[in-house]
Amino acid sequence: MQIRPILAALRRHRLATLLISLEVALACAVLCNACFLVAQRWELIQTRSGVDESSLAMVMVHGFEADQGKDLNARMLAGLRAVPGVQSVNLISQVPFGPQTGAAGISHDQGSFKRKIGVVDFVLAGPGTFQALGLELVAGRLPKVGDYSPATNFAPADAQVLVSRSLAEHAWPGESPLGKEFWCDKLHFRIIGVVDHFARARPRDWGSQAVEWTVFTPTLPGGSLAGTYLLRAKPQDLPRVLRDARNAVAKIAPDVVLDQENSRTLVDLRASYFKADRIMIDLLIGVIATMLCVTALGIVGLASFWVGQRQKQIGVRRALGATRGDILRYFQTENFLIVSFGIALGMVLAFGLNLLLMSHYELPRLPLYYLPVGALALWGLGQLAVLAPALRAAAVPPVVATRSV
């Protein structure tokens, strides 16, 4: 196939060629960036919690006084454990994707934040909570009976804690975190173990690096550790167990108020936490699809016009011996060239758009492999769009050449 005659023909339709190329270029830029955004959001939604989400639910109550905590815990633990199908009920202050209760800045030095580590989530947890969550210990040891400290604030004054691997690597890179100490103002912490993964309550709010900056803090029940309970049941039983547990609260503790919104399974809490991202993904996919349709229709429209305009030339070429395949390939090659111009420009635009987005949003650089994939998609789209008009062109009989219009 000779490209030169096609280029010569395109030169006579500079404006139309330019327009379609620009459209393809813009589509390419938006396509690459929108796909990248979808991928980013998808990654967010997949955030690892490190716990057995499908077996866990949270029951949360409010409206009791600090001095009633101990008594409330005893009643709630006993009452909820009596719900048929419950495997365990334990005390916890917050779960991944639930409300955040204890985020605070920690530091390597006492009483000041000069050697700041970062803002972490303190997860207060009673005996047995570690096993109930299904956390995986990768170094050190589990909390023993003597490790549970009393807390009246968001964390105990002095505690033995476990940290996530991610936090350990951030605070003590290349060192063993076991036995290391850190402070939050005057509160003092010593590390006894490291867990593999453990997401904080609101992972989206703290940046991708800090998703798992959590401190698992063994705490004595009562004081700050009251009113929030972790239910564990078989995944298939969980919805029923949770429903029964929620209903039981009114009988176990008629004076407190059940938190309707947050007393849910972890699967539900995760789904509602990431709902906005899910909507955004749907929206982006919708925009991508509509945009590709519009671009394709534009190509169809212009190609049809050209085919109509060139009826006579096509007839002449056919009369001079060109096969139907030649005509078909002519239009296909023409489209390939136009789309290629567009893609070349579109790659530059895609990077520009990415830089623009990066300056406004917390977004990494567009990975290079998006560009060839985007290019392939648009080439494919162009060929698909031009097929129908090109087939119509190929069907023009040679006799057209001999007719006057």
């Binding site: 139309a16 459209e23 955004l37 938190d259 945009m291 534009g298």
Partner: protein, 433 residues
């Protein structure tokens, strides 16, 4: 002439229905997408109390020692002492201290289970300053503030829920362990954004119960939460003597002179506190922004919404390029016809305007369809679980903007093709006939 062009345009549009439909649809989809998102941006960046917003100011001082954390802007809240000092000085036309906390509420002897609600603690000026509408009764007085009166104002929603919408002024409400007398019931009031609360989800509802600042501190001590602290508080939830920021101050200043005077007062206070060693920074960390400036600084439009608006705009541009290409094809296909008209004496200008009328007509059709798509888009947004969903309605401005944008866009798209068509050389076309 316009009528004739319109007739020609209609005939031309009817001739190739598929192409016309394609163009109208492309413009409509572009308009629909961009207008839906732009309407949301427009609504979210609106003025919550028009007419009043220019005299409402949000003072900020910075009590934190910057050696602890590096920041250049003061927090959007104050510590108890600064707020009380500034409020007690009564230097503004009106001033209110505000904070909110969760609280357990029930109607005594009603048999209804207790509810967890949110309580706004504030001072008497809050209601007149923010033009809060009352259904029954009124707010409380400065004297009641001063003597920590056990009174409360409730929202229309809560009044419906607890008292079936009856006039509940004079009834008793048990807030935590204290009985308070209801002195006022609000009309349905939902300022959007919830401008007076700098930490709230921007478009959430107001608090359910409003109580005098002093009394609610007595009643709900232990349940107040800090925006942030730079030392761990000694007593949990008692933030009065803590190194925490957790209350905020609003003032009304009716003239530019008063704004300047208040600015000087605020700077003087910060300098004085710095001299006493309580603040590490003086007047350089003092801010006095009016409501709209403060809302802009705070960033009212969520990132996702802005991203959607960008995306929709890019999408509209693509649709426009598409329309330009198709119009070009459409006009040039009629080169023969145009040649005849030119030969019969039509000027280039006449051809140009004829083409533009056709482009404008397509724009108008696209606008109508785009308007319907915008309505559909906003309906979809209203069904989403986002806190601004209830806002998503098309107002008159945006309704007119839809058509303006559609016609302007299609005229813009028609410009180059019309120019091209008006340049058609009559002799060539006539020869070809």
């Amino acid at each position: 002439m316009f009528g004739y062009y319109l007739d020609l345009a209609l005939r031309s549009l009817k001739r190739n229905k598929a192409l016309t439909a394609l163009m109208v649809l492309a413009i409509a989809v572009g308009i629909g997408a961009s207008m839906t998102t732009l309407t949301v941006v427009h609504l979210l960046s609106g003025d919550p109390i028009p007419g009043k917003s220019s005299v409402l100011y949000f003072p900020q001082v910075d009590p934190e020692n910057p050696a602890l954390a590096e920041h250049t802007e003061p927090y959007p809240a104050m510590d108890y002492r600064s707020a009380l000092d500034l409020w007690s000085a009564q230097r503004a036309d009106r001033q209110a201290i505000v904070t909110s906390s969760p609280v357990k509420v029930r109607v005594p002897d009603s048999g209804q289970p207790p509810l967890m609600l949110s309580m706004l603690s504030t001072t008497a000026d809050f209601f007149p300053m923010f033009e809060v509408p009352f259904q029954y009764g009124a707010g409380w007085s400065a004297q009641e503030d001063a003597r920590h009166a056990r009174v409360a104002v409730i929202t229309a929603d809560l009044n419906d829920k607890l008292f079936g919408g009856d006039n509940s002024v004079g009834r008793t409400l048990r807030v935590r362990d204290t009985d308070v007398r209801i002195v006022g019931v609000l009309k349905p009031w939902r300022p959007t954004p919830l401008f007076y609360d700098p930490w709230s989800q921007n478009f959430s509802r107001t608090e359910d119960v409003f109580a005098p600042f002093g009394s609610s501190l007595d009643i709900n001590q232990g349940n107040f939460q800090a925006y942030t602290c730079w030392h761990v508080p000694e007593k949990v939830g008692d933030l009065r003597n803590s190194d925490c920021v957790w209350v905020w101050l609003w003032v009304e200043l009716d003239s530019p002179a008063k704004v300047q005077a208040y600015g000087r007062f605020l700077a003087g206070y910060a300098e004085q506190q710095k001299a006493q060693g309580r603040f590490a920074t003086g007047k350089e960390h003092v801010r006095l922004r009016d409501l709209m400036t403060w809302l802009t600084a705070r960033g009212m439009v969520p990132d996702d919404v802005r991203l959607q608006a960008w995306l929709a705009s890019a999408f509209l541009v693509i649709c426009l390029f598409n329309a330009v290409g198709l119009l070009l094809a459409k006009f040039l296909r009629r080169s023969g016809e145009i040649g005849v008209r030119r030969a019969l004496g039509a000027s280039r200008r006449a051809i140009f305007s004829q083409c533009l009328v056709e482009a404008g007509l397509i724009g108008l059709l696209g606008g109508i369809l785009g308007w319907l798509l915008t309505l559909a888009g906003l309906w979809l947004i209203r069904r989403q679980p986002v806190d601004y969903a209830h806002l998503a309605h098309l107002d008159t401005t945006m309704f007119l903007a839809t058509f303006a944008l559609a016609v302007a866009a299609s005229l813009l798209a028609g410009l180059i093709p019309a120019l091209r068509a008006s340049r058609v050389v009559p002799s060539w076309q006539l020869k070809a006939l």
